[in-house]
Amino acid sequence: MSHEPEVPRKRYELEDTGFDEVPRKYRKYYRRWGGESDELAGNEVLCPVCKVVVRSNREVREGDRIYCMACMTRLRVVRVDGRLEGHVEY
């Protein structure tokens, strides 16, 4: 945790995956979740409220705050059992 911020974050090129449930300019930041077997990339976090995958154009790290526009939920990224998850902030 203490050394993590020193490593530059990997950048990602986002493409539109056909997710059409948010305004057009934000669509590339989301994709549909494929169920339990769907492996998330380093720039992706699953929204626990509506089960949509939120995507960033840079690597996601513990402590980051992200926003799920599909259900309007604010999430904080936490590490659980070595895996990154989005926890809801009310």
Binding site: E21, P48, V49, V52, C68, A70, C71, M72, V88, Y90
Partner: protein, 296 residues
């Protein structure tokens, strides 16, 4: 906070729903999509489709009455505007599922009698209990009942129905996909508003847990009845053979269960497990302890 509440804007709703996933749909589906011939021709499958759709109409009529009733009980402008968009979403759901009943051959003059005949009594009890809270202008109880219990549980049901229909009945699958997209906003609103309000009013926690115990019984009983009334995969296979079609084992999976091959008991078990599991996690996030439902 400002950006977060912008999600409740009418403009956001316009760009997401009518200008997004509802573009080029007609009553929720593609203009040329039709119910499968087999469903229209076979009396058992047709009645099952009508029975299922009636529960959707009854649930959505309840949500329409609740969301519109809660607008004037909402404590802030952003929530009022969000509930106005939800009201239109629910009215659209009532319309598209009612239209499906017409597509299944229900005559307009028979609509209310068909709904009365097939409406699940537990779902009717749920609606009565929820609308009583709405009539009392109890915003917290109303949002918990509608956006957390009704929509939270229905979200999983719609997902399972969508997985089972997207290949077998693309028309109905398309209608369900649009409904699920709407539900994402509704459950998000429920969780976020109630999660915040419980932190502001911890004294309401006990009331809400009591409400959850009473209301979730009726929802779970409705789902159980729906599966027990459904035909088994063997019956569906037999019907298909009678109509000269060779049944093909569907590989569509939901929560690890092959939907076209599972019997009603298996479907009921997986749905109850999923609903309850997801529902408990949802309540826990909000700060409510799940209460095992008791029969009233």
């Amino acid at each position: 906070m400002t950006d977060f509440l912008k999600g409740y804007d009418i403009q956001y709703w316009l760009e997401s729903a009518p200008q997004g996933y509802l573009m080029e749909t007609e009553y929720g589906h593609g203009e040329k999509e039709r119910e499968p011939e087999l469903v229209l021709e076979d009396p058992t499958l047709r009645e099952q489709a009508i029975r299922t759709t009636v529960q959707l109409v009854v649930g959505e009529r309840c949500a329409l009455a609740a969301s519109s009733g809660l607008i004037n009980a909402a404590p802030d402008e952003a929530s009022k505007r969000f509930l106005a968009t939800q009201t239109l979403d629910e009215a659209r759901h009532v319309e598209v599922f009612t239209h499906r009943l017409y597509d299944l051959g229900v005559k307009k003059s028979e609509l209310e009698s068909v709904i009365s005949q097939f409406a699940n009594p537990h779902l009717v009890h749920f609606a009565e209990a929820l609308l009583e809270k709405v009539d009392q202008k109890d915003f917290i109880a109303g949002v918990v009942g509608q956006n957390v219990i009704l929509e939270g549980m229905a979200f999983n049901v719609f997902e399972m129905m969508h997985a089972g229909n997207k290949e077998a009945n693309p028309k109905f699958g398309h209608t369900l996909a649009g409904t699920i997209a709407d539900e994402r906003r509704h459950v998000g609103f429920g969780e976020n508003r109630i999660g915040g309000l419980i932190r502001e009013h911890p004294e309401r926690k006990g009331d809400i847990e009591k409400l959850q115990r009473e209301m979730s019984y009726h929802m779970l009983a409705t789902f159980g009845d729906s599966f027990r009334n459904g035909p088994s995969p063997e019956q569906v296979g037999q019907i298909m053979r009678e109509h000269g079609q060779e049944p093909q084992a569907s590989e569509q999976e939901w929560q690890g269960v092959k939907l076209g091959q599972a019997n009603p008991e298996e479907l009921e078990a997986v749905l109850s497990d999923t609903i309850l599991k997801e529902f408990k996690i949802r309540l826990e996030r909000i700060g409510i302890e799940y209460q095992t439902p008791t029969a009233p």
